[in-house]
């Protein structure tokens, strides 16, 4: 229990007991299915006026699907949405907006070349009696809205393109208010903000709450939840876990709810002999995401890299792989210092990177299985200047067999494969380059259990054969089940390291999310009693 939550959980109308306040928004039995994956399964959610309601869950838990349903981007396959007690259906985001639901996404939808005032009022600008746009009124009203959020230092005549992310976000909030939003959805609002901006954001959020606006707040940062939220709902694997007042829960509880699950033998980890150091990263910087990372990787070992979205893990991988240059720092492969400026170079050195987003980064979906499988090693399949189709086909067949890819031929268009098989194609592409170091970024995200197990088994086998694997994952059971060592990254730095024996959900979860300094021996429960929490 910290000093913020007592103050934060006061209800909007203090004359009424909390339990009697009519909710603005109620979702019941919401189910949403996508090809191959059930994003939401019988989920409930409820929103009262004047409350900040946090929505928690790991990546893939269903949070973003849920808010897209609330904001009218998706329609649920089953379940009901009620506003002020009336059932509603949203056929478009515009209809949701008309009902007073506004969303602030991470990619803000603003017009960089237009002013703050115009951005706030685009599409519904105040008019004069002649029907023309009333600029003076627009500027005045924009200032008023900002003033109601106690923002006095933002010039409404500035072009939005010249503003920092923090200020752009405030413009989005003002926009929502100009539409008389009653429910405001904020998706990872603090991900790209400075500490000062976060404080200002919280201030705005509190003011909104006092005005009776309900706020759905999605964030991975648990301490924020305790600072700003009244209630918290946790989702896990598309299912509803629980809703609790923030004052009646602790970080440990939340972590448990978010990640706790039985670890079955999804993780056939075979023992492997761990050899020499093959990759060494020293003090690598790539601002603003990677701020001084050092790690080592040995042949035969699987190192799990845990952390939240925005911790900088993918950015680190992309620096190692040569997709983006490092600002400073050193990388050594097999003891030799290297300066990797292009993925081709990385491949020559035996490094491969299976990227996070298989659709846009990992595959060319409109091309065939064969073409995707060979894409990284085309140069080696050449006879003369021509691509040797026969060799290419043989490679593809080999990869298909090795990974058990379910496709009816090498010529099938990759887009038609299931998620799990698409992922196998990406992995197969990189295995064809015979790497010594394999970096896998969310290797089993969004794929079915069977394919997950297959990929994990493959990873084990590869490690047994001497490959060094750096596995970036947001799924704690996967991290715990597959890793010889676990590194935790937060805000651009490695903040903890656990050998396999000490890697527990509590330890890792706490290191990922809590602000408190963690080392190998502490347990998160001890830190929970510390009275001071550093401001974010």
């Amino acid at each position: 229990m910290n000093r913020f939550s007592a103050w934060a959980s006061r209800p909007y109308d203090r004359s009424k007991p909390v339990s009697e306040i009519q909710p603005i928004l109620v979702l019941t039995h919401i189910t949403k299915q996508f090809p191959g994956v059930k994003a939401l399964d019988d989920v409930h959610f409820e929103m009262r006026p004047g409350e900040v309601h946090a929505l928690l869950g790991e990546n893939g838990a269903g949070k973003s699907t849920l808010i897209k349903i609330v904001s009218g981007v998706y329609r649920p396959d089953a379940g009901e949405i009620r506003i002020d007690g009336r059932p509603v259906t949203f056929n478009s985001p515009h209809e949701a907006q008309a009902q007073g639901i506004a969303t602030i996404y991470q990619e803000l939808s603003l017009y960089p070349e237009l002013t703050v005032a115009e951005n706030v009022f685009m599409g519904h600008a105040p008019r004069t009696r002649l029907g023309t746009v009333d600029w003076a009124a627009m500027r005045r009203q924009a200032k008023d809205i900002l003033a109601s959020l106690e923002i006095y230092d933002l010039d409404v005549n500035r072009k939005v393109g010249t503003l920092t992310v923090g200020n752009r976000q405030r413009v989005e909030i003002a926009k929502a208010l100009s539409l008389n939003a009653r429910v405001l959805i904020m998706d990872e609002p603090t991900a790209a903000l400075t500490e000062a901006d976060v404080e200002r954001l919280f201030h705005s959020v509190r003011l909104l709450r006092e005005r009776g606006v309900g706020i759905i707040y999605i964030s991975h940062r648990l301490q924020e939840v305790f600072q700003i939220a009244d209630r918290v709902t946790v989702l896990r694997d598309g299912q509803y876990v629980d809703t609790r007042p923030v004052s009646e829960t602790t970080e440990d509880d939340l972590i448990n709810m978010m990640v706790g699950r039985t670890i079955d033998n999804l993780f056939p980890k075979l023992p492997a002999e761990i050899g020499d150091v093959v990759l060494e990263v020293q003090d690598v910087y790539r601002r603003p995401s990677v701020r001084g990372v050092s790690l080592t990787l040995r042949a035969g070992e699987i190192v799990g890299l845990a952390g939240l979205v925005g911790a900088g893990r993918s950015e680190l991988a992309q620096v190692i792989f040569g997709l983006t240059p490092a600002d400073s720092g050193q990388v050594r492969v097999n003891g030799q210092v290297v300066n990797i400026r292009h993925p081709g170079q990385a491949m020559q050195l035996g490094i491969a990177y299976v990227p996070e987003d298989r659709g846009t980064q990992g595959l060319v979906r409109q091309m065939r299985v064969r073409e995707n499988l060979s894409m990284a090693v085309l140069r080696s399949l050449v006879s003369g200047i021509f691509v040797n189709r026969k060799a290419e086909r043989e490679l593809a067949q080999h990869s298909i067999r090795q990974l058990n890819i379910r496709a009816y031929s090498t010529e099938q268009i990759v887009n038609k494969l299931s998620g799990g098989n698409q992922q196998k194609v990406v992995v197969g592409k990189w295995l064809a380059s015979a790497p010594r170091v394999l970096i896998m970024d969310e290797p089993t995200r969004g794929i079915d259990v069977g394919a997950k197990a297959e990929i994990h088994r493959l990873m084990s086998e590869l490690a047994q054969r001497g490959m060094a694997i750096l596995m970036i994952s947001s799924e704690l059971p996967e991290i715990i089940g597959m890793s010889d060592r676990v590194l935790v990254m937060r805000q651009g730095r490695i903040v903890a390291e656990y050998p396999r024996a000490e890697a527990t959900q509590e330890n890792i979860g706490a290191a990922m999310m809590s602000d408190v300094a963690v080392n190998n021996n502490n347990h998160a429960t001890e830190q929970a009693e510390m009275p001071e929490r550093a401001a974010v």
């Binding site: 603003l110 017009y111 599409g123 029907g131 393109g161």
Partner: protein
């Protein structure tokens, strides 16, 4: 865009308050830079060859620039909305011929002046339909349209010029109060268009659609309707331009000056209309038209071969585009921190 720090000639004291606050943004805007460029040109070339500043020459420059400027108004709108139109030069040729033919065939003169506006609008609607509803990239649609119009004109006229136009036809040759008629149209239409772009909800919607198409849709803006309107207005303005063009001489040629569309596009872009869409003003494009024509005239007066004019225009458009792109990239870098 670089802004100089020299103030423009200070406003008269009686307008001090509001005038100076209006002038300040000029220093750092494209329009301001153009104004300074124009002043600079006048000063430099005027001292080198005072005949540059003769009443006759100024009148000539303004008159000749008018039809380009009028067409550039519509082009600016098209570019702000995120599209482009390379067929406008050929369209002007066709419309001027229609106008001339009607005059020679005995139709009432006012009809000969108005019909081009109608057909201009029709042409614009056709372009707009392909772009907005069939979702074909504007560059390709207008590339095709350009050749259809260009070839169509030749087919129709067979290369023959139109002579024997009735006296009253020559609207552009009239000069009420000593100012050439086209100049009135240019200034009048610029002001009307500027007001419309600034004060009408549709005008603002054009900026939205060009600036962030997705966000515009989420704001409830009907982008297809907006695009249609833009293209139609652009077509009508091309019609006005064609009347100005067609009525200035005693004959109407069977072709338009080659590269007219590039001059119009250059005027818009140099005038501050970003070719990436979402920003710019028609005042800027009119100013740019004047500056470009002034440069052409200046080149004659300081003895540079006018055949270099197109190259100069090409450099101007390239520099403006580069400056715009670099500015945007710097902005993106600012966010990334």
């Amino acid at each position: 865009m670089t802004a100089t720090t020299q103030p423009v000639t200070p406003a008269p004291a009686s307008f001090a308050g509001r005038a100076s606050s209006l002038l300040r943004p000029l220093y750092s805007s494209q329009e301001g830079v153009l104004l300074l460029l124009l002043v600079g040109l006048i000063v430099v070339v005027g001292t080198a060859n005072p005949r540059f500043l003769a009443q006759r020459n100024i009148s000539d420059v303004l008159q000749n620039t008018s039809y380009t400027a009028i067409a550039a108004i519509g082009m600016s709108m098209v570019i702000i909305s995120g599209n482009i139109d390379v067929s406008v030069g050929s369209l002007i040729g066709v419309l001027a011929t229609i106008s001339g033919q009607m005059a020679v065939s005995g139709y009432p003169i006012w009809l000969a002046w108005l019909v081009p506006l109608f057909f201009g609008g029709v042409a614009g609607a056709i372009n707009g339909f392909f772009v907005a509803y069939l979702r074909i990239p504007a560059i390709v649609v207008t590339l095709g349209m350009m050749s259809i119009l260009k070839g169509g004109l030749i087919l129709w006229t067979g290369g023959a010029w139109i002579y024997d136009l009735p006296e009253e036809f020559h609207l552009a040759q009239q000069a009420p109060l000593g100012v050439p008629m086209p100049v009135y149209f240019m200034i009048g239409l610029t002001i009307v268009a500027a007001l419309w772009m600034r004060y009408s909800p549709t005008g603002r919607a054009i900026y939205a659609v060009g600036g962030n198409r997705e966000a515009a849709r989420l704001s409830g803006i009907n982008e297809r309707a907006v695009l249609m309107q833009v293209f139609i207005i652009h077509g009508v303005l091309a019609g006005v331009a064609s009347v100005m063009f067609g009525t200035q001489f005693t004959t109407i040629q069977s072709t338009v000056p080659p590269g007219l569309e590039m001059v119009i596009i250059t005027a818009a872009v140099v005038g501050g209309v970003s070719i990436l869409g979402g920003t710019g003003t028609v005042i800027g494009s009119t100013l740019a038209s004047i500056v470009i024509r002034a440069i052409a005239s200046a080149m004659i007066f300081i003895d540079i071969s006018p055949y270099w004019l197109q190259a100069v225009q090409g450099v101007m458009i390239l520099l403006t585009v580069l400056a715009d792109i670099l500015r945007r990239r710097r902005q993106i870098r600012l966010i990334r921190g």
